[in-house]
Amino acid sequence: MARGMVKKTFLTPLGKDNPVFVQILGICSTLAVTNKLANTMVMVLGVMFTTALSSWTISLFRKQIPSRIRMMVETLVIATYVIIVDIILKAYNPEIWKQLGPYVGLIITNCIVMGRVEAFALQNKPTLSLIDGLASGMGYGYVLLIIAFVRELLGSGTIWGYQVLGSWWTKWAIMVMPPGGFFMLAILIWVVHEGVMKEGKNG
């Protein structure tokens, strides 16, 4: 396996083919969990774990899986990994598990996981698929963390639960609610497309 290929596989989802900015995938969870940094971090780790391992698993058996039922197999594998995340959280970090509630289970329906399995893992070797899945999860993750940072700061005046803005700060309740996620995401996509990606297109 060429080194260049590995590097490209790793960097593409972080930059010019970012799942959230460019493919606009995984939006539902972007809106739901990004009002607190700590919750977002756990969600991001869960998604990274799931995308990486389901891509790897599916890639491992890509030649054996009958193509007629491949989607069922993919869903089942993804669901299994998500349930593993859910059970482990429930047993070892119940405080966070309680706060995330149903969102961990909803990783199953995150389009990025299924998207990477379908678009990449079915055609590529296991190791490369693992890297692609991990990088996609990270590409999704850092966008979420940026959004969560702004939403928590403006909406609650805190960062990672610690008070940073004093009592003079009027909390923006809208930032904590789902519409705040829409606004932040749209602004971020706009900034990235206008500011960062335009140059790339022209050059």
Binding site: N35, I69, L76, I87, K90, A91, K98, Q99, K171, M177
Partner: protein, 193 residues
């Protein structure tokens, strides 16, 4: 390309799917069984910690501390937890904005004065309604009597006033209703009901 026989077209996908399903089920259920005791212990710990919080008893917050303290001071009489012989704690449930809110309310010997409130389970909006779990909110009930009416966040002073949460009117309202129901039922707590 081999030809599509009956086997590759019909039987193989079925068998494959069945095998994958069995593997997935075995994996997840064994993990569930392995962690079952730990999960039950977590639940018990949360419950005991909430009961001590509602009774206004100081505790260390860690698992051993809470469990040993609980076992030495709490007596379970029917559905009521009697803490230290003179504080009565009971679980109350009611509808919130998104789902059920489960709280524990503690009363002093007179069955009127509230020793504390703790939220055991809730599904309110994170950052808004979910702030009912924050200490400032649950601690405001200590020493009050109710029945409560809502006032603006940070202004409750009288024994029958409670702070609402700004931006979470419906959750505050639901919480007030559960509190008031708890207060109307408090007189029967000594009988263990």
């Amino acid at each position: 390309m081999k030809s599509q026989t009956f086997y590759t077209k019909r039987i193989k996908p079925l068998v494959f799917m069945a095998v994958v399903t069995i593997i997935c089920i075995v994996l997840t259920s064994s993990l569930y069984l392995l962690t079952r005791e730990r999960v039950a212990m977590n639940e018990l710990f949360f419950m005991r910690r909430s009961i001590l919080d509602a009774a206004g008893v100081e505790h260390s917050g860690d698992v051993e501390g809470v469990n040993s303290l609980y076992e030495s001071v709490v007596k379970e009489v029917g559905e009521v937890y009697v803490v230290g012989g003179n504080t009565y704690v009971k679980l109350f449930k009611g509808p919130g904005l998104w789902g059920e809110i489960t709280i524990l309310v503690g009363f002093e010997e007179d069955l009127k004065t509230i020793t504390g409130v703790s939220v055991f389970a809730q599904n309110e909006t994170p950052g808004l309604g979910a702030r009912i779990e924050e200490p400032w909110f649950s601690q405001q009930f200590r020493g009050k009597e109710g029945p409560f009416s809502l006032v603006e966040e940070g202004t409750a002073a009288a024994k029958s006033e409670m702070d609402a949460i700004t931006g979470a009117t419906r959750t505050s309202d639901a919480f007030k209703n559960i509190m008031n129901r708890a207060i109307s039922e408090s007189a029967t707590l000594k009988g263990g009901q």
